[in-house]
Assembly symmetry: C2
Homo-oligomer: 641 residues x 2
């Protein structure tokens, strides 16, 4: 096995950044904390964030003009790798550089950049990203905090209108933050212009709350207790006109509002879209945490023995049990799949955001992909880490073996930076928009042709898409008996067919909805919610599979290609198996074919079982980073405060 | 809605004990701990355990002759309810009374009872149940600790033979335990007699380890940090001959071994079987924890509003979203189902264990049912609490809202007191044994007839089993289009058919296995592991459904009956939906029928949605016990040490 080739393909475009992170991060950061006192955990996390700032890694993603490196992809790769290391640090860093810093850069203009970016990058200015309120999380457009312009004093007055409008769960707020980017309804001349962001100081140099600012600690959480989440109330806090991050909306001295984007809704989504990086990091870090959990659980599965092996004096290595393989190996294969999809997302985002030209359609596609991949990756992480904990039994429940910490710290990932269920509905909406823009009133055949074109244009052209599009366009559900389950083209067609079939069905159902009757419209949309989630799921997995195929094409060694190809088969067929009810319902699998899929998953587990450690090694988690006693990394870390 | 009738049916046979627990338990015990220091948590848990002892509740399950009440069912009901209150306390109490105390009572004889039971019941003698070793958990028969009889001094010498043989994860060991019931290979006259239990002092009155005993703290865990789990090593520790709990195996002064049970394997399983109560408590407590989580999440779903409601000025109550209903309501219906099954298990166990006569077959059936229900209930709890956490978003991640504590503390339930995957295989083995005993080489039709008879004899006779058995015996897979999905008889037939079909297939596959070739036999059994798990799953759910049916029959109010009936439909059809791949593969659902099941689940969610709070109220969780800020129970508890 050519591990170098596998590592090269896995490390991808920012392999050099991965190398830096592996070199710079002390292995002790990967060990589970033994301190349970949140104050000590927070102090240690801040200390690590400062050490991280000193490595220069966080600067990578910001503008060269202010000391950054304009390397968005490298920056995202580095953040993603923190998911393997310490999720407290990842989130603390994500708040400072991925949210607070990114908001300054993306929503602000040169005066803000000059004033804030340098000290933000060095962490000399710790900041908050104060968007979420107690009463409104997912529905950002309905935030209630107001920023009312007072032309007499050329100031904004920031107010928490009621307790539901307090800013909540805000990272860096409880202890460290000095300023906050506050999202508020901008009001000028008595008229609301929708949600905008302003820089508001919240603490003075001595760390005391600024006048009019009330701060409360969110207290103990299910994990991430090294991050100081807090609540913020603003009681008529005055900030100068220049506090407005005015890239997408300006207020003149006299209070006149202007914006380069006329349509208010489009303006709002453009502003949100500019913040896509945070979501990308969260998905990547979650996938990284799942990789570490799998590395630990595979190591345990290879060393743990239980029950006599018939016909021998020895006991059975637990990873030899098919049920144990079934728990870990499909998750490992899926981790590869998501890793490649994440790499592609980061790469495309880098190209779009550093390309100079603005391509609205590509930007929209990226936002949708980031939302969908964040949801799928964080759900995968939650389920996989849980499975790994259970697969390690009692040992898995001990903090020294790290799995419970990974579980607790990553748990909120499914609901923060966009609740997954809401994000998947956004993905579905974007699919429908795209569908309507292009398909209009086409029938099913038209839909399938349209999607086949999309597939071809955006993804397949770089690989050899022999005959796929033609076959897709026939729109005839193939009988799986005819298919070789391991035929990649059949697999791709199956995923693409599922996507096109679900989105066409969704469009058909929604076309009948009358929008004149509000209650009826709500009821109709409510009825298709599950259908929407399914559409998004099918869409994301089609993209994930394509990324996996591209990665396989990128191998230079036959052995690597063969191994990844089997892992891809296992990813695909375990996904088909999990969704076989749907495939059977829609005549795309026969009962016999469905059973064959289950047997193929068994066979692939058996075939990949001897390569489990190789697949783990291929993910490139440094052994010293496993941080688990059962994986040979003894000694939990103790904060040195 | 007649809530009294619903409460009566839910509270069941030991309603009076539930009343005592509701009265005796202070509401503050239900609030999430804010202390993170394990030492404080442990002290508080011990204090609560002492307060619990003072209520007299833990005595209920023990013999009247020694101060107990011979009320096994009442005792199990009380432990189950601690799952709603404080899982640290539940586990601490479970270790003391459910494991340590139950082992003394079940495996010891009168001298042990006289000496230990009174102080065990009052908690004046805190004890351990030292079974699990680092190297052997599920495979208890292979434990390596030895107890070698020395006839010269009429003593046993207890030894930890190597580090894999150290006792691990032992509750009460790290701090509080004074004695331990130690499971060890009994050796006398140079011959091993298999695993037996002995009472071994581990700490003196001053709390210092006894000579030859080494104790280590397991340290921080993923939850349950109020329980002092530890490790024990025995370096040639001598205990008198009388230390052997000798109900199932005696050693005479000269070292002669005798036992009322000749067959060593049967003896071993009889000893383990005597300890079934612990497993029953764990399943019940896990189900209780899931009930609390659902009560909190439903309350949140009823009060949280997000996104404008079309055609109105208001926002949508999140429980009005079908996706939200889909997350909570099937889980709530399943909680009812498992609650009724648990009640039946407790009642049957009580009758068998207090009945005087020993019925081997019933005892075996109870052990298998306890194992299966423990697995299904703890998996349900893990999944449900996770779902509830996610359904409450960021608020769900805050410790004050209790869900993360419930998750962390209950997480180990799926792997302790028997790893669920192993337990389900035991269930399958017991199904096969029973199958082979009765069916021998019968063909499929014979199998189905046999199972139909079983169903009839053990469960259906008490209810009106109109025509079910006849229909079953025809062995013809019904076409679901003909069926009314809400027809209870169709539902029961479907569950029974699934069970019979899976077990017959399993028997068929295993019949071909040659036992002469060890490696081949392992491979063959390994290949059917997933099939075994499925058989156990189908078996347990058939029993659960029958328990639900019996509970509905027990209603006196039509409204209660109608509500529970709908909840039962939702339980059944969401289970069918989750397993629809299998039903489709086996021709028992057509594609159209399968889609109809999904629509029926949607419809039932909508139908039950207005009754969500009633269903929660019916479970009888006192509102003051919710212990969550978002459910109106403010103020987390602080340990008073």
């Amino acid at each position: 096995m050519d591990l170098d080739d596998l590592r090269r393909v896995v490390d991808g475009r920012w392999a050099h950044v991965r190398g830096i992170v592996r070199r710079e991060v002390p292995a002790e950061w990967c060990r589970p904390a033994v301190d349970t006192d949140p104050a000590l955990l927070r102090a240690e996390t801040l200390k690590r964030a400062r050490a991280l700032a000193a490595t220069g890694l966080p600067r990578r993603g910001f503008a060269k003009a202010y000391g950054g490196e304009d390397d968005i992809g490298g920056s995202l790769t580095a953040f993603e790798m923190l998911g393997l290391v310490d999720l407290n640090l990842m989130v603390k860093a994500g708040v400072q550089w991925g949210l607070f810093g990114a908001a300054l850069q993306a929503l602000g203009t040169s005066s803000h950049h000059e004033r804030y970016l340098p000290s933000m990058m060095t962490l000399d200015l710790p900041g908050c990203f104060a968007m979420t309120e107690t009463g409104h999380g997912s529905d950002v457009q309905s935030l209630r905090t107001t920023a009312t312009y007072d032309p007499a004093r050329e100031e904004f007055v920031v107010s928490t209108t009621d307790d539901e409008a307090r800013k909540d769960y805000i990272g860096n707020a409880a202890v460290d933050g000095r300023v906050a980017v506050v999202f508020a309804q901008l009001v000028t001349g008595g008229e609301s212009q929708g949600v905008h962001a302003l820089v508001v100081p919240i603490r003075d140099e001595a760390g005391r709350p600024c006048p009019g600012v009330r701060i409360e600690d969110c207290g103990l959480k299910g994990g991430l207790n090294g991050v100081d989440n807090g609540r913020l109330w603003f009681d008529g806090v005055r900030v100068p006109r220049e506090a407005l991050l005015d890239r997408y909306g300006q207020v003149a001295a006299d209070g006149t509002y202007s914006s380069p984007i006329e349509n208010r809704s489009r303006r709002f989504f453009t502003m949100l879209g500019a913040l896509v990086r945070g979501r990308v990091s969260v998905g990547g870090a979650a996938a990284g945490a799942a990789q570490v959990a799998l590395a630990i659980a595979v190591e345990h599965g290879e060393s743990r023995r239980q029950f006599a092996r018939p016909g021998t004096d020895g006991e059975v290595t637990v990873l030899d049990y098919l049920t144990h393989q079934r728990r870990l190996l499909p998750a490992l294969a899926t981790s590869y799949a998501l890793h490649f999809a994440q790499g592609e997302l980061v790469s495309d985002l880098h190209d779009v955001q550093t390309g100079g030209t603005t391509d609205d359609e590509r930007q929209r596609e990226l936002e949708s992909r980031a939302a969908g991949l964040k949801a799928i990756s964080t759900w995968h992480a939650t389920a996989t880490i849980q499975t790994c904990r259970e697969a390690c039994g009692g040992a898995g429940y001990l903090a020294v073996n790290r799995l419970v910490g990974l579980k607790a710290d990553s748990d909120v990932f499914t609901t923060f930076e966009g609740d997954n269920t809401v994000l998947m509905q956004l993905v579905a909406r974007s699919m429908l928009t795209s569908y309507r823009d292009h398909v209009g009133d086409l029938d099913t055949l038209g839909t399938v042709r349209f999607l086949a074109e999309q597939v071809k244009e955006t993804l397949l052209e770089r690989t050899s898409a022999r005959g796929l599009v033609d076959r897709l366009a026939t729109a005839a559900p193939g009988r799986d008996e005819d298919a070789n389950l391991l035929d990649r083209e059949w697999q791709r067609e199956l995923f693409a067919w599922r996507e096109s079939h679900v989105v066409a069905g969704l469009a058909r159902r929604l076309r009948r909805v009358s929008t004149s009757d509000g209650a009826a419209a709500f009821e109709a949309v409510n009825r298709v919610q599950a259908h929407s989630l399914r559409a998004a799921h099918a869409h994301v997995h089609r993209l994930v599979l394509e990324a996996f195929v591209a990665a396989i094409d990128n191998c230079t060694s036959d052995a690597t290609r063969a191994l990844l190809s089997r892992a891809c088969d296992l990813y695909v067929l375990s996904e088909v198996e999990a969704d076989r009810g749907w495939f059977l319902e829609h005549g795309r699998l026969t009962p016999a074919g469905s059973k064959a899929v289950g047997r193929a998953v068994d066979d692939l587990c058996r075939e990949l079982r001897p390569h489990a450690r190789t697949l783990v090694a291929g993910l490139g988690v440094p052994p010293a980073w496993l941080g688990a006693e059962l994986a040979g990394s003894a000694q939990p870390s103790r904060s040195s405060t």
